[in-house]
């Protein structure tokens, strides 16, 4: 930027546009998040530590983090299959299937929550069928996983799809002329090329799942220590007017999300370096 704060331009309106942008971000993002960062410390350092290491809090954080990771992993596997089919195969209804992938983006989470609960409850379409096999989904951690898989799927598909579409046909043809079979072409040529996009999709699905609330609380059963997620704990503490305690859980959740994303970004950097070499 050659030592200047703003590159001169003949276009007008920078001042008002930036001014409004900063005002809006300050009002809606910076000020509220400042409150989130500042308020837990009203408890003092020891109080904060105590507040976030209660067994109930630890159990909820463990559950939220673990379920989010598991759901993101499931979504990477099945998301890859779905993307592959959407990008490579010509079949009737392909456009519809492609549009359907976005439904979890568009469907309000509360609606998804009650619908999934109805399906997986003991008398539901799938629940009544799994029940005799001894598998309970609704009101268990498994139910949480189901809900998180629902909300996370489009993140993986939409991250991988453009990359898979842009894969050069010559890449696979070259592998084939060099004697690679179909399985080798997928595992040695295609999957490595898709790895960074998969990691991105995983990260987005994970971040979304970690904070997810609406689609989970109906199906979770919300049993303390068993199926209670961290966001619900925030709501419960707020209802008890324990603002600092609620903010403490919120801050730890943000920290965990940041740590998770940092780890993922690091692996992304490593993948990129390997790709560049």
């Amino acid at each position: 930027m050659r030592g200047r704060w703003l590159e001169p331009s003949v276009l007008p309106g920078f001042g008002p546009a930036l001014g409004f942008t900063l005002f809006w971000l300050g009002l809606l993002v910076v000020l509220p998040l400042a409150a989130l960062v500042a308020r837990p410390w009203e408890l003092g350092l020891a109080g904060f530590w105590h507040s976030v290491t209660e067994p109930r809090v630890l159990a909820a954080l463990r559950l939220s983090f673990g379920a989010a990771l598991a759901a993101a992993a499931v979504n990477v596997v099945f998301g890859l299959v779905v993307t592959w089919v959407l990008v490579r195969y010509d079949f009737p209804g392909r456009r519809l299937a492609d549009a359907v992938v976005d439904l979890p983006f568009a469907l309000p989470t509360a609606v998804a929550g009650i619908a999934l609960t109805a399906i997986y409850a003991g008398n539901g379409w799938i629940g009544s069928w799994l029940g005799p096999l001894g598998i309970k989904v609704a009101y268990t951690p498994l139910g949480i996983l189901v809900a998180l898989v629902f909300v996370g799927l489009p993140f993986v598909v939409r991250s991988v799809q453009p990359v898979m579409q842009d894969l050069d046909a010559e890449l696979e043809e070259a592998a084939e002329t060099l004697g690679a079979g179909p399985v080798q072409r997928v595992t040695r040529v295609i999957l490595p090329a898709l790895a960074p996009a998969c990691v991105t999709g995983f990260a987005l699905a994970f971040a979304r799942a970690l904070g997810e609330y609406g689609s989970v609380i109906f199906i979770a059963g919300n049993m303390p220590l068993v199926s209670e997620i961290a966001p619900l704990l925030i709501v419960i503490r707020l209802e008890q007017f324990d603002y600092a305690g609620a903010a403490a859980v919120g801050l730890v959740m943000l920290g965990l999300a940041a740590l998770g994303l940092l780890a993922i970004n690091l692996s992304q950097v490593i993948l990129a370096r390997r790709g560049a070499a």
């Binding site: 590159e7 993002v29 990008v87 195969y89 579409q165 619900l232 943000l254």
Partner: protein, 281 residues
Amino acid sequence: MRSVGLKRPASLGAFLLLAIAIGWLAVVIVLPLVSVFAEALRKGVPAYLEAFRDPDGQAAIRLTLLVAGICVPLNAVFGLAAAWAVAKFDFRGKGFLLTLIDLPFSISPVISGLVWVLLFGANGWFGPALEAAGIKVIFTVTALVLATLLVTLPFVARELIPLMAEQGTDEETAAVTLGARGWTTFLKVTLPNVKWALLYGVLLCTARAMGEFGAVSVVSGHIRGKTNTMPLHVEVLYNEYDFVGAFAIASLLAGLALVTLALKAGLEWRYADELSAGRRH
């Protein structure tokens, strides 16, 4: 470079993959959608329609439209302003600004509600002072609007910034040399170039504003007929075991989601070139 392209599935493996993918989409995504309508109509059409006669339900629908009606235009204006500043000018700190704009996407909705309680709740930073002045924020429509504004803040900006950056400043500069004023340049040159992306962002923003649950749930207080939006009303009815009523309202939201998807797919298909690069598939 040439992409691989579509081909009809021929091998056994291809059919197997196709079956897995379609089966997965059907069970994970389509089945819940279908069940919303099935549950809503479980006791027949009259019972379904009865649910919409409930004044609290009607109030919820009106409130949802009101909140979306306030939030979407405001965040659309923000999106345009932010995109104009970020995409058409070069200045320091742009990356930081972009991170701030994206931030609401990566915060839990519950936290997006919590922060307003921390500011304006009974024990909030400004809550007591405002209360003394007779202004209530939490458990009012104001709080619903604030929470929704935060959650939907990035939608329009995110669609416009990459597209406007890609389009550069050449056309605007040309307009200036041809004698156009600032507003004229923006209205006649910039806006028409991004109108479909703007509509796309507004569409996603609207869908989220109407469907948001977690953030508004924290600040609403669930006062029937007063501060319940449609998703909150669904929760209230569901917790009162009025399943038909809950799913009836839910079916309305699901219908909205379907309309959103259809419009979105239509925009992507028809105006692919005029949406930003990431949206072209």
